[in-house]
């Protein structure tokens, strides 16, 4: 079941078109990556989804329909532009944030200590936020996003300011939430985190969708069938089915002719007596796809 359905939304601010005809959906039990370079329209899209901004055209269905006051209580949001009341104790700030999400005081009193314990912040609960490190404040904000057990979680750069241990902690928490059937929208520039966490993604730039689909579908779409081999002896100057051979750190990258698959290429190498220490099909990283797609999109725009 889709928790968010974005249908052809557009939004302009003065003469600037921030979002142009964007559509996608986010399902229960998945982590959905909303990716794009800075200023691509991600934040505006999120604000439209959350009913903070009204779209000029198109519509958004969230948790089964238009946004209502009650639905806000079922959404956890960690914006990119975020902060805490610096002169207030962490516990008090989180209590306020939770109460704004409709939690009863008694419920907050039961859940908050458990969350503080889980994020290793129990000893700092009474400290003013300005006395906490950036990482601690970031974990506090993650608690504020999750404490009311939202059905839908929207998090923008959740790993910013976190060390590797806390990054892993937040990743584990997000996976737990997904396993509970929550829908999670994640914005980040850390492609390695997208690769390890996201089930599907949409890539936007200059306010429009450039790419959408599951990680597998995207990898399949952008695969080049190139292989990296380490031969035991020198390679012949030319090989059938191979368009180009290039040296890469003591190995060889082979670019096959159009329509030749990696398995067909392996058969060709073996039948031509090429002995190999290793054979690896090259899959483009999300980083490479991101750069490639954004560059292509810019060319088309120009």
């Amino acid at each position: 079941m889709s928790k968010i359905v974005v249908s052809n939304i557009s939004k302009s601010f003065g003469k600037t078109r921030a979002v142009k005809d964007i559509s996608f959906d986010v399902r229960a039990g998945e982590i959905f990556g909303l990716l794009g370079p800075n200023g691509s329209g991600k934040t505006t899209t999120i604000r439209i989804i959350l009913d903070i901004y009204q779209p000029d055209s198109g519509k958004v269905a969230i948790l089964g329909g238009p946004m209502t006051a009650d639905k806000k209580n079922h959404i956890g949001y960690l914006p990119e532009e975020r902060g805490l009341y610096q002169d207030m104790a962490l516990e008090r700030v989180l209590t306020y944030m939770a109460s704004l999400k409709g939690m009863a005081d008694a419920d907050i009193k039961t859940k908050l200590p458990a969350y503080l314990e889980k994020f290793d912040l129990a000893a700092h609960a009474k400290k003013k936020c300005k006395e906490l490190s950036k990482g601690m404040q970031q974990k506090g904000q993650v608690i504020a996003t999750l404490i009311h057990d939202p059905e839908l979680i929207i998090i923008d750069e959740p790993f910013a300011a976190l060390d590797p241990i806390n990054t892993q902690l937040v990743k584990d928490v997000l996976e737990e939430e997904r396993d509970k059937g929550k829908a999670i929208v994640m914005c980040t520039h850390q492609m390695s985190q997208v690769e390890s966490l996201c089930d599907r993604l949409v890539l936007v730039d200059q306010g429009r969708v450039l790419l959408t689909g599951s990680l597998e579908e995207i990898a399949e779409h952008y695969k080049t069938n190139e292989v990296l081999i380490k031969p035991v002896s020198a390679l012949p100057a030319s090989l059938p089915d191979v368009r180009e051979i290039s040296r890469v750190n003591g190995s060889y990258k082979l670019s096959p002719e159009e329509g030749v698959t990696p398995s067909q290429l392996l058969e060709t190498l073996v039948s031509n007596g090429v002995a190999m220490e290793s054979y690896k099909v090259l899959v483009p990283s999300l980083d490479e796809i991101f750069i490639h797609v954004v560059a292509e999109g810019k060319k088309q725009n120009d």
Partner: protein
């Protein structure tokens, strides 16, 4: 349930649990009360009052000499003897002064009746004694101007007894013009209300701009409607400032009564209880008016610094009213005063001040209050429009035209 009460609860507790608020609420009224209370407790029952003490001090000083070159002063009445001593010539008076037997001497010029010139010669500055002796000397001159006729002199000093009958008692300025408290108390009350409204509405501005700066605003907006955030804030801060005003006003009334009982001031401090009963609704509505303006301003400015700069423009009517203070204190029934009393942006400080000055016609009190309520309703609606997500999350530069068009006509900004 609407989130307004949750915002209200948090904001109210944030304000009243702040150390500066608690200290201000308790210490500001407590310290002067303790001081006056201690003076009252420690003072012996038969101790002289302030005026008597000054008179006594003056009477222990040395007399002044009088050299009359005009031939006017022929009689020295009993009340002047001992304080003023006649001398034949200036040199003998100077000699006595230098010898330390006199505190100084007056020389009445030969052409006094034409010029009124009198020279006072004294060895050192002694303001209090000089004031007292000048008064006695002036009376001596008056006494001799009527040739020492006690009956005429009595009529002269008692002036003319005028009894005033006012056709419209409500318009009457029945104040004693010689009483220092006649002007001092209105100035104080005016300043009190001016500061209360300015400070509390500025704190409202500060609260909104800080939430923009510390980047909690977007989190709040994802949880509650802008109007709930605005409503919760203005009500919480209104209640907190009302609490402060009630405590401080009650203390002022109490201190005025205590001062009259214990300090024996040369005047009586009178603060009508109407200042309390009418002043509180005027203050509360004034805060809602200016607090809403400040909240709207806070929503539109990108940071606290810019908010501070533009708050001066918003506060301008209050500042102008305060600058016009002498007009409505001295002429409480003038047309300018009436306008300032009824105009909603100034009535919040002018009307409570007029209540100290004297009787204000009840129709003016009611009309001003109704106009204030109407203005609050309009401004709160306008400020709620300004308090939109787009304004709160944008970093756009403040635009006065957009501000007032949205405030007055409800056109929402479309810039990001």
């Amino acid at each position: 349930m609407r989130k307004i009460w949750r915002v209200f609860k948090y904001e109210f507790m944030s304000v009243v649990s702040r150390r500066s608020f608690i200290l201000g609420l308790i210490l500001v009224p407590l310290l002067p009360t303790i001081i006056i209370g201690l003076v009252s407790l420690l003072k012996p029952k038969d101790s002289p009052d302030l005026v008597k003490t000054i008179v006594k001090e003056v009477s222990t000083t040395k007399p002044y000499g009088v050299v009359d070159e005009s031939g006017l002063i022929n009689d020295y009445p009993n009340w002047a003897m001992g304080q003023l001593i006649p001398f034949e010539d200036e040199s003998s008076a100077r000699q006595e002064t230098q010898a330390g037997n006199l505190d100084g001497f007056y020389v009445v010029s030969a052409d006094y009746l034409e010029t009124g010139d009198v020279l006072l010669v004294k060895p050192e500055v002694s303001m209090v004694a000089e004031m007292a002796y000048n008064a006695t000397f002036e009376e001596l001159i008056r006494y001799n101007l009527v040739n020492g006729n006690d009956e005429l002199y009595a009529k002269l000093v008692n002036h003319v007894k005028v009894t005033t009958e006012y056709l419209d008692i409500e318009q009457a300025d029945t104040r004693d013009q010689k009483d220092p408290s006649t002007f001092m108390v209105p100035f104080f009350i005016s300043f009190f209300f001016y500061m209360l409204v300015i400070i509390n509405s500025s704190l409202m501005l500060d609260s909104v701009t800080k939430e923009k700066e510390n980047r909690t605003m977007e989190i709040l907006l994802s949880s509650a409607e802008p109007v709930d955030i605005f409503g919760g804030k203005i009500l919480a801060r209104g209640l907190a400032s009302l609490l402060q005003t009630v405590v401080w006003l009650a203390t002022i009334l109490l201190l005025a009564k205590l001062s009259n009982l214990t300090l024996h001031l040369p005047f009586k401090l009178e603060i009508p209880t109407a200042v309390f009963t009418w002043g509180i609704p005027y203050f509360l509505l004034g805060f809602l008016l200016y607090g809403s303006l400040m909240a709207g301003l806070g929503a539109m400015v990108p940071n606290t610094r810019e908010g501070g700069q533009f708050s001066l423009i918003m506060n301008m009517p209050l500042i102008l009213a305060y600058l016009a203070l002498s007009e409505f204190v001295t002429n409480p029934n003038s047309a300018v005063t009436l306008f300032l009393s009824l105009f909603p942006l100034t009535s919040t400080i002018v009307m409570p001040t007029r209540l100290v000055i004297g009787a204000v016609p009840i129709w003016q009190l009611i009309v001003a209050l109704l106009l204030l309520v109407l203005a609050v309703w309009l401004v709160v609606r306008g400020a709620a429009n300004l308090f939109s997500s787009q304004n709160l999350l944008s970093g756009q530069k403040f635009n006065l035209k957009t501000f007032f068009s949205t405030l007055l006509f409800g056109k929402k900004s479309q810039k990001a």
